[in-house]
Symmetry: C2
Subunit: 253 residues, 2 copies
């Protein structure tokens, strides 16, 4: 059996948790079908080279989550899931890589602020920011260049009280995330959606692509420590100049 994943010893995650993740994954991907018997504590002990207490704890964590049922003298059984809602877990990642991407963009590219205005939030934006319709927000459209070729168009919608803490010039020099943090709002979550669209008469010339080209579209909602959205942004990229990379591993870093 695979004990490779647990040989790495310099992980800050406790052993029982890593074994729990491995087992949970095997249940969710169908290696252990609902109703079937999971390996016993002693089998896990041998297979993964851990103590029985560690194996037991991993199994108990699964039982606490109602993924398995433990029966003394019989074994640990995979439960049948009633709803599939539980499975719709979106990718959960560390914000760190996003932050460093934002910073590296800031360092290596130049920015041109195309629009900078205060206006009333429409239906879509007010829903995204969870504010009343027609609240005043700050809308900024920026184009990023990398070595003189346009790289992205980003349209941000920020709460008025945050927008007033910086100027149009600040936005050309500093990453928006940094300005928001300076305004006293620490970002705890970012919800991100990746989709695509076509370049239109407005966006095509800004990115120097032809109308009808495919564009990668990112929508981001920044949520502060009070769980309030503070920024809704849409980014457009030409797929020839930007692709979104991710590494998915058994363990979180």
């Amino acid at each position: 059996m695979n004990n490779y994943a647990l040989s790495n010893n310099d992980s800050p995650l406790p052993l029982y948790h890593r074994l729990y993740v491995i087992l949970k994954e095997s249940i969710l991907n169908g290696t252990y079908q609902p109703g079937t018997l999971l390996p016993s504590e002693t089998e896990l002990t041998q297979a993964y080279g851990v103590s029985r207490i560690t194996a037991k704890r991993a199994l108990n964590e699964l039982a606490d989550e109602d993924l398995v049922e433990r029966k003394r003298g019989k074994g640990t059984f995979v439960k049948k899931r009633k709803s599939t809602e539980l499975l719709h877990t979106p990718i959960q990642a560390n914000i760190q890589a996003l932050m460093s991407n934002l910073t590296v963009i800031d360092l290596e590219t130049s920015v041109e602020v195309k629009q900078f205005e205060y206006k009333k939030a429409g239906l879509w934006v007010s829903q995204q920011l969870q504010i009343p319709l027609n609240s005043t927000i700050q809308r900024a459209v920026r184009v990023r260049y990398y070595k003189d070729t346009p790289f992205s168009i980003s349209t941000s919608h920020v709460l008025k009280e945050i927008g007033t803490t910086y100027t149009e010039e600040d936005l050309e020099k500093t990453a928006l995330i940094h300005l928001i943090q300076k305004a006293g709002h620490n970002i705890l979550h970012v919800h991100q959606t990746i989709t695509c669209t076509l370049a239109n008469e407005e966006t095509a010339p800004l990115l120097k692509v032809s109308v009808g080209s495919p564009l990668l579209k990112l929508r981001r909602i920044f949520i502060n420590t009070n769980k309030k959205p503070v920024n809704y942004a849409e980014m457009l990229y030409s797929p020839e100049r930007f692709e979104y990379n991710m590494n998915l591993t058994l363990e979180s870093p």
Copy 2:
């Protein structure tokens, strides 16, 4: 200062590591500029409500990574970074959500295998799978339907010795990842790239969209425990039927 992130106590990650992540992030996003002084151990103690030893350890982890320099009696200074390579960290996420997505697709959708053939790998595929040019691989094209509307086209390229362990019929009933695992290959990493393209004469009718529609394109390389690529797959989605969601948080789950 923000001590919210550390109040959550049910994380399996040790406290010093979570503080380390927060500090690292603040350095990378520019809150603490290179050359400047980081908060002292006692300041961190007060700001985040941790003991001095915990703060010390978090700072030492940063020093071990060469991100900061510690000077006795003076303080902890943010180092200047020589290369920006370090910042280009791609999003690092747990494979679990991807696995469960694959499973839920398998449960709720129907699959039609459009092509199933063994052929010689071209330049691109052989590079992705790290095999010699003209090696034999198995290529399968599948269309997924969700309630009778086409949902995705996926084209997979699998090493010949894995492809021969299952049939075309298996591929209609079982997720490919499951079949690969049954062939004895445990997946440790998945490298994923998200980009976009246009529907052409071949793909448009399969997805029942018009030629020239924008399509979300996912490329995935599955890597087994021996660090060998075993599957290269491309997926196409209509953006009206599928968007890619991610949650980015300070802490990994």
